[in-house]
């Protein structure tokens, strides 16, 4: 600054002002340096805390579809109503209007509001309908006294179809029962995070998306069920329930080579669309969560095992003692008096004496090995919760009675799924496979929580069947299926299961149940069953129907009660799956 032109007496003032201004600048620059260099991190963190909020974003649960991609379960967003009790006056008229709008009990609502009057948050009703949400907003609310929060709502568009297989998701979104529970690790997804940027008054001005932090989920979980075949089974069970009034019934349809469960139905049942009134006994999946004595449906396995062991021959004849046979202290009876029967006819006529004699040749150890070999006494391993292992006593507890009882399907208890799985082993050439309900998943989910890595792009491709163990040779298995079991249907107790154009094999079962009063076998309580499949030369479909304690009518035989319904399911399934007939049919005479 050139002060030479300034008058000497003013130079001091100029210097003073310049010094003051310089000092101010030094203070400002110094303050800037302190803020920028020393306090930068702290202030940046403070700003971030004010501006940025991280919220958790829940993953939408995966859809559940059948093997053809038809929707069984999906998720939509529904609003849940909450209130701030501190800002809400408990006015009788308002409470009454609110309760009426939401179809809930007004007294209970009032009690809850009074009990939680000091809280700032209280759920009133979760996952309300759009109409209810609109009606709520029309009410005369105090300011800031209520709000809505979005939550996922699970919907089942097929109603009560396959309800036991699907299960449901409860109020908190946790899977309960069925595949909703057992496959929850595939369905639920992994929550993500999003950052929200707020302005000075707290409004959200930006949502920051990071692809790595987005929720991770599969698009859909695909089951082996076929909805059409499932409907066949459901309809057949409805007809059985109408006609025979049983305490319970179930139907299973399985593809024997892959173990795919094409249908699994149970009665009594419930609707997933309306869970408000469900009878207590309707929750149980009768296909896997009940056990029963299989009766005569167990006989083919013993015959196959005896053939495999070389203890009997295909064309061998057995003396059936004219309907009465003493085994130690016990006398066995047949329904009819037979003298000599072939191995084939023992199954066709369902002779208990013939089976007891085959059992004597196998001995208890052989019978036990056969039973274990075909998967009885342990769960099948299907991906459904609540599967029972059945009842198979240890070999050391068996005695002389067991030698006669086991071959005719008594003294052990099985689940229907175990029986159809064992029958599939005979049908597929002797391989016991694990039944499966999960076919695959659609979509990708790159997180370590999902151990199921297969991503199914082509719905026709699935993983190969899991073979548990070989049971009997393919020759023995094929003979049992194509000869005695086929003749059960063509001329035996299962003749009501004939299907024109198809070689059907099957076995009826009628087992007395335990009398709860005296512990012995009841004369009035039975379980009636029928297992069948077709075509006999190359089985593609196996159907089992078990009817528990039919009450109506005078008969209780599996061939009368279960066989016609099983044949109907089988016939429709064969046509639906486009399996061509394998037997020439004769047209009616002209």
């Amino acid at each position: 600054m050139n002060t030479s032109s300034v008058a000497p007496r003013n130079r001091g003032r100029v210097h003073f002002i310049a010094t003051v201004m310089l000092g101010l600048w030094v203070i400002v620059i110094g303050r800037l340096c302190i803020v920028q260099l020393k306090q930068a991190d702290e202030l940046a963190s403070y700003a971030t805390q004010q501006q940025l909020t991280e919220v958790t974003v829940e993953a939408r649960p995966a859809d559940i579809v059948d093997r053809s991609g038809r929707l069984l379960a999906t998720t939509i967003v529904a609003q849940s109503l909450f209130v701030d009790p501190q800002r809400l006056d408990v006015d009788e008229e308002f409470i009454s209007d609110l309760a009426e709008t939401l179809s809930i009990n007004a007294e209970r609502l009032k009690d809850r509001l009074c009990d939680h009057a000091d809280k700032r948050f209280l759920w009133v009703k979760r996952r309300i309908t759009d109409d209810e949400a609109a009606a709520i907003q029309m009410l005369d609310w105090p300011d800031s006294a209520y709000g809505f929060r979005d939550e996922f709502l699970r919907k089942y568009p097929q109603g009560h179809v396959a309800s036991h297989v699907l299960g449901y998701r409860d109020i908190d979104g946790a899977g309960r029962g069925g595949v909703e529970q057992s496959l929850d690790y595939l369905i639920e997804g992994v929550p993500g995070k999003r950052k929200l940027v707020r302005d000075a008054v707290g409004r959200i001005v930006e949502v920051s998306f990071d692809p790595d932090s987005e929720p991770k989920r599969f698009d859909a979980v695909r089951l082996t069920l076929d909805l059409t075949i499932q409907m066949f089974a459901e309809k057949a069970l409805d007809e059985i329930v109408d006609e025979w009034k049983p305490t319970g019934a179930c139907a299973i349809v399985m593809e024997p080579n892959s173990g795919d469960v094409l249908a699994m139905a149970s009665r009594p049942t419930y609707s997933l669309s309306d869970m408000s009134h469900v009878p207590g006994n309707a929750w149980k999946n009768q296909a896997i969560s009940i056990v029963y004595e299989p009766g005569s449906t167990f006989k083919p396995f013993i015959v196959a095992e005896a053939l495999q062991a070389g203890l009997i021959k295909q064309d061998e004849m057995f003396d059936c003692e004219n309907g009465e046979y003493r085994m130690g202290p016990r006398i066995l009876h047949d329904h009819h008096a037979y003298s000599k029967l072939s191995v084939t006819d023992i199954l066709v006529k369902s002779s208990n004496i013939g089976m007891a004699k085959i059992g004597e040749r196998l001995t208890n150890r052989g019978l036990y090995n056969a039973t274990v070999k075909f998967g009885f006494g342990r769960p099948t391993g299907i991906d459904l919760p609540g599967e029972l292992s059945g009842i198979l006593r240890p070999l050391k507890q068996w005695n002389g009675y067991s030698t006669g009882s086991i071959p005719m399907g008594h003294e052990l208890a099985v689940t229907p799924l175990q029986l159809v799985t064992a029958q599939s082993a005979l049908a597929n050439g002797g391989r016991l496979i694990t039944p499966r309900i999960l076919k695959g998943v659609q979509g990708h989910r790159s997180d370590s929580a999902a151990s199921f890595q297969a991503s199914l792009e082509d719905p026709t491709v699935s993983e190969p069947a899991t073979i548990v163990r070989p049971t009997v040779s393919s020759e023995a298995a094929r003979w049992v299926i194509e000869k005695p079991m086929a003749e059960v249907v063509s001329r035996g107790t299962g003749h009501r299961a004939k299907i024109p154009g198809y070689s059907v094999f099957g076995k009826t079962g009628t087992a007395q149940k335990m009398d709860p009063e005296n512990g012995g076998y009841s004369k009035t309580l039975h379980s009636s069953s029928f297992i069948c499949g077709a075509p006999a030369r190359n089985p593609k479909v196996i159907v089992l129907i078990v009817v528990d304690e039919p009450q109506s009518g005078s008969t209780h035989y599996g061939g009368t009660i279960a066989a016609p319904a099983a044949a109907k399911i089988l016939s429709r399934s064969l046509m639906y799956l486009r399996i061509p007939p394998d037997v020439e049919t004769r047209t009616a005479a002209r």
Partner: protein, 143 residues
């Protein structure tokens, strides 16, 4: 001197204005991206709802009831020949009026008592599968 001072000042102002403009564009784009993500969420939800509705309308139970009501003909039914009640139910449902499948099931004709006839005389409807008339296997059986 004044020229240099003024030029520097103008440069600083212009640079600041440019910076503000770029920053505003950046914020606008980020807001647009946020809006797109929000729209994606809304569309996903809309897709889920519409898919649910279409699946409910085409539920297997309803299709079964329709087919069984029409009987087991070999020829597919002509368009418009569906009975009035089913036509109303299938096509006049409003988007918010999703029928409860249980109620729908209860409203269908009672078919449980119908089909007890011999399997040899009743065929499954064409909806599922039907052998062609000129099937050589049928011709062999007729000799």
């Amino acid at each position: 001197m004044f020229f240099r001072f003024g030029s520097a000042l103008i440069l600083v102002v212009v640079a600041s204005l440019l910076g503000i403009f770029v920053e505003k564009q950046n914020l606008t784009l980020r807001r647009e991206i946020s809006r797109q993500h929000y729209r994606m969420d809304v569309l996903q939800e809309e897709h889920a709802r519409l898919r649910l509705q279409s699946q409910q309308l085409a539920a297997v139970e309803r299709l079964f009831a329709t087919v069984e009501d029409e009987g087991s003909g070999l020829v597919p039914s002509k368009p418009g020949s569906i009975s009035n009640s089913h036509h109303r139910e299938l096509f006049e449902t409003t988007p918010t009026d999703v029928p409860d499948s249980d109620a729908a099931h209860a409203a269908e004709p009672d078919v449980t008592g119908k089909d007890k006839s011999d399997l040899t005389t009743r065929r499954v409807p064409l909806l599922f599968w039907q052998k062609p008339v000129a099937d050589p296997r049928l011709k062999r059986g007729s000799n």
